[in-house]
Amino acid sequence: MANRTAALEGGAAARRSSSLWGDAWRRLIRNRLAVLGGILVLTFLTLALIGPLIAPYYYGQQHLEALKANNYRPIPPFSPGFLLGSDDLGRDLLSRLLDGAQISMTVAFVVQAVVLLIGLPVGAAAAWYGGRVDTYLMRFTDVVYAFPDLLFIILLSVSLAATPIGEAMNGVLLVFIAIGLTSWVGMARLVRGQLLSLKEQEFVEAARAIGVSDFRIVTRHLLPNAMGPMIVAVTLGIPGAILAEATLAFIGIGAQAPRASWGKLIADGQQYVRSEPHLVVFPALAVAIALVSFTFLGDGLRDALDPKLKGKQ
Amino acid sequence: MAEQLRDSKRHARKLLEVRNLSTAFFTREGVVHAVDNVSFELDYGETLGLVGESGCGKSVTALSLTRLVADPPGRITSGEIILDGIDVLKLSHEEMRLLRGKKIGFIFQDPMTSLNPTLPIGFQIAESARAHMGLSRKAAEDRAAELLSKVGIPRSRERLGDYPHQFSGGMRQRVMIAIALACDPMLLLADEPTTALDVTIQAQILELIRSLSSEFETAVILITHDLGIAAGMCDRINVMYAGRIVETGKVDDIFEAPKMPYAWGLLDSLPRLDEVKGTRLRTIEGLPPDLIDPGAECRFSPRCKYVRDRCRVEEPELSARGEEGHLARCWGTEPGGWIQ
């Protein structure tokens, strides 16, 4: 009995990998924008990981002599020792941008981790158990959905700013969790929708008949089929998280000095935007490229994984 | 008088003359020759069947006649289509548009997706009447109601405002027929009109097409993979295979004495009521050829039981067999050939 189940599962999985994922990968590769997005995403990830190692200086370090030599004005880009210039406190912009990259990439993944951690079980439980459980869970999501996102995040961030969580990682961790707490509803509804339609299919009945436990059915049979849309949702949700973090940092919530979230860099650089625009332009470019690359990658993934396109060239 | 008129038309010229029509699809993997040098004729009021398996080019032929082949990636690469004396392929886009709906009606295969879900069916039927016949809204509505009851939908006037999702599959197909016949076209193209329907409904829809086309003296090209349907509906049949016509003739001639191994295979594969229980279904072994690079041989040769060397080298022409208008594309069945 167990062997047969294993054989069924193994066989089905093997067949699936040659058709669904293989096709999808090939389609993805052909999409130039998606490939570009993917390369940029990988670049950001790498920079985020090795940033501290390759940065010319520590991001918080103030180079007071160089600053003095420049009349206490922010140092322009392409100056010796300061590839992208410095801010008004003499801190190297390139190093700070790399720190910002680390913050943005961390936000991207921590938020999505929270989203999956909450949204997936909620959606799966609602779909699988149906009835009362479904109703209560969906009502719960309605309440969370009704809450104005940014308000909640700001409220949470400011309220708990002085607490241990609030101070962890210079305030960055709290923001991530807060953003995640407001973003999971979409994933929950997606998972629920996917599982609801899959639940009715015959292979579920078959698995039940063989005696596979509920948990296994959901995790081994249903969720893998819903993976496509979930991957797309996670990827397309990242720009929103990056944007939220940057916006919050702009108004001073989240990353605290000396950490250099891109949003904070833009806020700090505002006053010099006419005389030393590099302080705003470079971080803005960084944000723009990050947002766009995840969006293109997400679009490409969605097109590649779209079941309707299966079989078409 | 109408009879005489009809007869005189019949002798004067044909409704449709298709000569050397080729339609190809330009894809990344190569050029797919979906319709390869196809020629046939159709008389006014006649019902012609295009019969063959999936992928043989019958649907593309019909779409080519009305220049609805998706471009890109498809394109009519050569040939002539003369409809009622008009050279269709030389028309401008605008002129072609005026022809569609007015002289050519099209019934598509899947009634579930072929109707616009957000518009009432009365509107969808009346649309072409208003576009081509210049009818006022009221007059078009009247005509739509009339057509709807003609296709067998009761309380037609009340149902004009209903939406497609409020109808069953069979009824939606009836609506499609009403749409196709709205401007009283001379030619009706029916692409597998009953394939997506229940067997019990199929007969009704086919009967409807038959009676209406007879009543309005509309010529019909019926596309189907189902020989039974073809036998019951058509005056003449073109059997298609791999983008070519491989046999053509009057329906009785073909069914009584087909002269091409593929046609035999098709007829043979039909399950029969008088068969011994437990007999296996007969199939034609093998798969249709790749249409990207068909080669010079007879396209059916890889699957043919009667194949000889000549078949593998040179493709036969459509040549005459015994009865009038009965042509087949096979070396073996030609006079003096090796198949009896």
Partner: protein, 308 residues
């Protein structure tokens, strides 16, 4: 349908209730009160103030008092600006915030939808690239960056538009940049979504049927395609409205627009409980009602959807 609308409206009440509970809890969970910071008040003075505003009552009692007052429409006193009640503050600003939000919404639809339609109809042509380009700019530029850039170019650089001074239709030039900055992101999203939806519709069977009827290209696009393409687009209008509502505060801050949004961050930092509660409730109610409107609109456009 009417039953559905009524039920949804009724459902908003318990939701708002829960929202208020959570907000109240979070507010009071934060250390400090409205009077504990900034001004050099003596501890005794702070105690007196707290007593006067009943801030030393147990939290549940405070909540009940607030809830009771709220139901009668009294949003309580503002702690930061003692001369004015929350009703005053909110009353002044809500109209402006609403105005800004609606204008940004209309702009994003009026620009976004045609952009998407034309891009799809001229697929891979010049209009498609232009529309995609604009969309990319829209997704890549956070509203605060757009605001800064607009200010630099049009106010400081070209001196065409003022940096602040929103006064509704009395001063149209002051409305342009805030509206555009807020609408940029929604325009991009609506355009992209509309384009994708239109492209899908062009491939549908019923379009082929329409062509087989010999209808004019323009008729097919306007009568058959657009209607069907817009149906999925309506589904993203809800999140877009939510975005506009919650995101407007940053625009208001940068351009000094006198709406209630700019009190957001301040009031939370200053623990101005009354204002925080009022704003949270208003925003939550607005989002809920607007989502209902969108859902009704959706049913209106798509005849297959009928809520029981």
């Amino acid at each position: 349908m009417l039953g559905y609308i009524v039920r949804r409206l009724l459902w908003i009440i318990p939701v708002l209730f829960v929202v208020s509970l959570i907000t109240f809890g979070m507010m009071h969970a934060a250390p400090g009160g409205p009077f504990s910071k900034e001004k050099p008040l003596t501890k005794h003075a702070v105690e007196l103030l707290n007593k006067r505003y009943h801030l030393d009552d147990p939290i549940p009692i405070q909540y009940l008092k607030w809830a009771g007052a709220m139901v009668t429409g009294d949003l309580g006193p503002s702690y930061r600006y003692p001369e004015r009640s929350v009703n005053d503050i909110v009353g002044d600003g809500i109209g402006t915030t609403f105005h800004l939000g609606i204008m940004a919404f209309l702009l994003s639809v009026i620009v976004g939808v045609p952009l998407g339609v034309i891009a799809a109809l001229r697929h891979n042509g010049i209009p498609d690239y232009v529309a995609t380009f604009i969309s990319v700019i829209g997704i890549a530029t956070p509203s605060f960056v757009a605001s800064i850039l607009l200010l630099v170019f049009f106010s400081v650089g070209l001196r065409w538009l003022p940096t602040h001074g929103w006064d509704g239709w009395a001063k149209p030039t002051a409305m342009i940049m805030p509206t555009v900055a807020l609408a940029l992101f929604p325009i991009a999203n609506i355009a992209r979504f509309t384009r994708a939806s239109m492209l899908e519709v062009t491939r549908k069977d019923y379009i082929r049927t329409a062509q087989s009827k010999g209808l004019k290209e323009r008729t097919i696009v306007t009568v058959h395609m657009i209607r069907n393409a817009l149906i999925p687009v309506v589904t993203i209008l809800g999140p877009i409205l939510a975005f506009l509502i919650t995101g407007s505060f940053i625009i208001e801050t940068i351009f000094s627009v006198p709406g209630i949004g700019r009190f957001y961050v301040q009031s939370i930092g200053q623990r101005d409980y009354g204002v925080i509660m009022a704003m949270t409730m208003l925003y939550a109610a607005a989002i809920a009602v607007l989502n209902l409107v969108v859902d009704v609109l959706y049913a209106y456009i798509d005849p297959r959807i009928r809520y029981s």
